[in-house]
């Protein structure tokens, strides 16, 4: 319990830090405005007493009353009120800036941080749940920042002002009021605690519902093909029911809070009246001061119940904030690399760094003693006794040792699940190995900066990912500053040009919803075009042509071979035709390399590859 409270306090502190750090000046103005506006409000309640005592009573009974002095006072009051209104306007306006600014900042921070998270993070969550953090959770903060916090602060100012007035009148009665306040705090702690538990659950449930909706929408074709609409509705109803349940409970506790506070206030009023009455009968207190004091009690508890009304949104916001901070606090991909990739050129037989794209790359290797050496990028990749498993206990790859030399085409063959994709995911460090070493041009890849490592490795995956935008934009993803001509050249090289030209608006055809209108093969052609435009030193093709017909594949392959001439290419394919001309073929089985060599050698070995090739052996 203590731990939970401590966490909440930390969350609040962290949230407020966003405000105090970025909007110091504005915040000061806001606070001053709120104070003035609240004091004007308190003053307003006192004004009437002043009016009666100082103006109305003396004027009573006068035959020709002189209202000029009254007019002056009213004009003065008008000015004070106007100041109050201006202050209210000021802080309302500024709070819009502050709260929207903070939300903007939090979203940016979340997204930028998310870009640095390891692939594992995305594996373990539904996409909709992640999306929910950006909208539903951030949304909970909006109301709290723009409405609740100013209101609570304003209420506090009024309460403090009234408290002083009370203390000036009578200490004992004030103590009675304070005792009531303590009772209120206890009640609101209890109710607030319950409420907050369910608000946390509510935000989780919203995430789940969001995730389910997103997943069902993504798989809508399968849903339809399997007539699964009714079941998908039923499962949704379950999740929806859960959400409704936590929502009801959370809101219930929050809704009960205000009547509780208000009526404890009423109770306090009665107590003060009774005690005050007894005191006055005994002549300890004057009647006038009890009357005044009772007014104060009301003025004191009113803002309190206002605060309790805001509790709802504050508690909910804290639940949302926890989820937000959970994302922001996720551990980033570790990157201790310091070797970077630079464009290079030869000068006097030495490699020097170059500003422009020379077509030659080099690893820039700073040493401890301040020396910087350059190693030419050749694309040589070595695995040395590499062990890996997605879960620490479950090994997927055992003792992988291999060398891909510069300019070689290296292929992986094996049954589904043999670990082919896993190997390529280790080269670009989507996942980190557990044991062994991977060297890239004789540099341990742990020493290479991740961005630079990945920049040197082009990758085309079986599951293509397209973005909303034109075909041209999607290809250009491979090289952001590519000209239209370059884009089209890459499309021609990958043989995508043909179908693109047949689209209604050619290269400017909009792709929406992950390119549902395109066939899987066409999508693969686009992602190959993207890689071709990227023109990387080393290329990984992971079942990149699996949905492309063999005739087209042949043309694509010739294009890619030409492009990648002299550079290292890793290929994963089921179709042996795709890899037959490889320099080195690795046959994988259950995470082990069982055969290696080129096509001819492997056929001559008459082992697994031969069996596969002739159809005599089943890989599984």
């Amino acid at each position: 319990m203590e731990k939970v409270k401590g966490k909440k306090r930390k969350t609040i502190k962290r949230l407020l830090k966003y405000v105090t750090e970025n909007y110091k000046l504005q915040l000061v103005v806001v606070l001053v405005s709120i104070i003035i506006s609240a004091l004007v409000g308190v003053l307003g309640t006192q004004f009437i007493k002043y009016l009666i005592d100082d103006f109305i009573t003396p004027l009573l009974g006068s035959q020709s009353p002189d209202y000029s002095r009254l007019l002056n006072v009213i004009m003065m009051m008008a000015v004070i009120y106007l100041v109050g209104v201006v202050c209210t306007f000021t802080y309302n306006r500024l709070m819009v800036n502050i709260s929207q600014g903070v939300l903007n900042k939090i979203r940016t921070q979340m997204f930028n941080h998310m870009q640095k998270l390891p692939i594992r993070y995305f594996d373990s969550r539904t996409h909709g749940d992640i999306m929910s953090t950006y909208t539903n959770d951030v949304d909970t903060l909006r109301q709290m920042l723009s409405q609740s916090i100013p209101q609570v602060f304003s209420a506090c100012v009024s309460m403090v002002a009234v408290l002083f007035a009370m203390l000036a009148t009578n200490i004992y009665l004030t103590l009675v009021v304070l005792a009531m306040v303590i009772l209120m705090v206890f009640v609101s702690r209890y109710l607030g605690g319950n409420s907050s538990r369910f608000f946390v659950k509510q935000q989780e449930d919203i995430g789940k519902v969001n995730g389910y909706i997103e997943e069902m929408m993504e798989g809508q074709k399968v849903v339809k093909v399997f007539n699964y609409e009714e079941d998908s509705k039923a499962r949704f109803d379950d999740l929806n029911e859960q959400l409704c349940d936590s929502m009801t409970k959370a809101n219930m506790y929050a809704n009960i809070l205000m009547p509780c506070i208000m009526n404890i206030g009423n109770l306090g009023y009665v107590l003060v009246a009774v005690i005050g009455g007894i005191l006055s009968v005994n002549g300890i207190l004057t009647i006038g001061s009890i009357a005044a004091f009772l007014q104060y009690v009301k003025a004191f508890t009113n803002p309190l119940s206002q605060v309790s009304q805001q509790m709802n949104s504050i508690i909910m916001a804290l639940a949302g904030a926890e989820r937000i901070f959970d994302l922001i606090d996720q551990e980033e991909e570790v990157d201790e690399g310091y070797v970077t990739l630079v464009n290079a050129k030869m000068e006097n037989g030495k490699i020097v760094e170059s500003e422009e794209r020379t077509g030659m790359w080099a690893w820039k290797h700073p040493h401890k003693d301040g020396r910087i050496t350059y190693t030419r990028l050749r694309g040589q990749v070595e695995f040395e006794n590499v062990q890996f498993g997605y879960e620490p206990k479950k090994r997927i790859l055992h003792d992988i040792t291999l060398t891909a030399k510069e300019g070689q085409k290296v292929s992986f063959v094996g049954a589904t699940g043999a670990g082919k994709t896993t190997i390529t995911n280790l080269i670009n460090r989507f996942y980190d190995i557990q044991d062994g070493k991977i060297r890239y041009d004789r540099i341990n890849i742990q020493k290479i900066k991740k961005d630079d490592l990945r920049r040197s490795l082009g990758m085309v995956l079986q599951d293509t990912s397209l973005f909303t935008g034109t075909i041209r934009d999607n290809i250009r993803y491979g090289k952001l500053d590519a000209t239209d001509e370059e884009v089209e050249a890459a499309a021609k090289l990958s043989n995508a040009d043909k179908f693109i030209k047949h689209l209604p608006h050619g290269y400017d055809t909009m792709i929406t919803g992950n390119g549902e209108g395109l066939s899987q093969g066409q999508r693969q052609l686009l992602s190959i075009a993207r890689a071709a435009l990227n023109n990387p030193p080393v290329l990984i093709l992971d079942e990149a042509t699996s949905s492309i017909d063999t005739r087209t594949e042949k043309i694509v392959q010739e294009g890619m071979d030409k492009l990648m001439k002299g550079r290292t290419v890793f290929v994963i394919a089921h179709r042996l035709s795709t890899i037959k001309n490889s320099d080195l073929i690795m046959v994988l089985d259950h995470g082990r390399i069982i055969e290696r060599g080129n096509h001819k050698e492997l056929i001559a070995q008459k082992g697994t590859y031969y069996g596969l090739y002739t159809g005599a052996i089943e890989i599984d």
Binding site: I213, G219, V225, N240, C244, N251, A273, H502
Partner: protein, 589 residues
Amino acid sequence: MLKKLASYIKEYKKDTILTPIFVVLEVVMEVVIPLLMARIIDVGIQNGDVRYILEMGALLIVSAILSLTFGMLSGRFAAKASAGYAKNLRKAMFHKVQDYSFENIDKFSTSSLVTRMTTDVTNVQMAFQMIIRILVRGPIMMIFALLMVMSISLKLSAIFFVAIPVLGVILFYIAIKAHPNFERVFKKYDKLNRVVQENVSAIRVVKAYVRESFEEKKFKEVNDEVYENFKKAEKIVAFNGPVMQLTIYTCILLISWIGTQLIVGGEMQTGQLSSIITYAWQILASLMMLSFVFVMIIMAQSSAERIIEVVDEEPTIKDKENPVTEVKDGSIKFENVSFQYSDEQEDDKFALENINLDIKAGETIGIIGGTGSSKSTLVQLIPRLYDVTKGSIKVGGVDVKDYEIHVLRDAVAMVLQKNVLFSGTIAENLRWGDKEADQEELEEVCKLAQADGFIKEFPSKYETVLDQGGTNVSGGQKQRICIARAMLKKPKILILDDSTSAVDTKTDALIRKAFREEIPNTTKIIIAQRVSSVEDADKIIVLNEGKIDGIGTSEELLKTNAIYKEVYESQMKGGDEDGESEGQEKKDN
């Protein structure tokens, strides 16, 4: 729109009605309590009558307890009603969306549908709760206060009767101004959601191309758009509070000025003036509450419109009246079928053009053709994932449009090219094909689909949990699970849309053998890149750019069809293909 929105209250009608009733009772107590308090001061304390104070105090405590009870009850009912209402809205939307055709879905986009079902519903829910609680409380408090003022001085109450309508007009004007801005905000929200969604699902590409900063820039753009628009909208709304205060302060000053003259003129007493001022504050408080609700409603209005749009959308593919409820057999007939994806395209650009086919029940049909030759499109017309643009398709002798959609899709099983598995266990995923299937049946189809072996190798076997999209099994494993899932349906027509591309040839052959032997009466349509996958089919259809280029057995096509011949030879002669056919070995050596 209100009527429509109200129609989703349904089983929460009781709670929805009880909430304002208890709110009213609560407000009554809130009015009674100050009166009792006034009595304590005016009578009890003024006269020093402790007994009276105690009596009134007891009465006050009873009132407070009542007020508390009413307050708690109204709070409870409000929570139940609003959460329930939100539930019904989400349910209505989700259920409707499940009946959408792809055309409908494309119209909204997935990310927009997700925001509508969550963020927009939350907005409407908050507004709903506000309406049943505060929209009742505010006016009633105001009316009570006004009545009290009127009973004291009609002249002074005139001030309020002028001020309140003026205020109303101003607030209304603010609302009208803010509304279009909020509409824009939600559109930007959709976009923000989309950018996040695409980023998350393409994270491997993003990382592989080191496009993190590019993505960050993209996000910043849409994030800033949300920020700017929201700021604009809320800035307009920020006028609410000050305008309210201005009005009420003006009223108080006017009351002071006129009130003083009335008192001096002997028309009123001092005590009455201070009461009026107290009531003025009460009116202010209720107006403030109303303005708060008002902001909520302005925001919720845009959200409500977006919700209504979803539930009002008519599915473009739906059951006819008196549909046919039985599929006789697995025969398929295409008659002059042409198809284009959207009406906006020019007339001459068809994805499929003039297709005529006659497939008998139980036949195995192979479809072969280049990338983009519309193979997938062709088969997706059979279970009516899309409707033909011209011509007609008959299954079992009946036009597909005449069937009840569920009946048709039950009879047609399809393994899609883009396989989708859902988060859950393998068994759960398989049971999509048949909910009632027992473990034995699951294993049986998995054996046929050559999936049983690898599934049993997983530590948790059939209970292995898959991530969203099935990222923790390999492509070929995914395909075989999907085939098993489709076979579990025991369909009359089984369509495999390039669904063995990641499966090795040997396994592929075993699957086809199982088809032949175990489900001989099912019509099988196999789209493939490998000639070996379709070679032994009864008929092979060669598609080229949306048109049929040739139909026949492999032998016939080799003689008559140039495209088929070329594909066949390129795969067989060079031994390029995975070497399924015999004789290849000889050529190669």
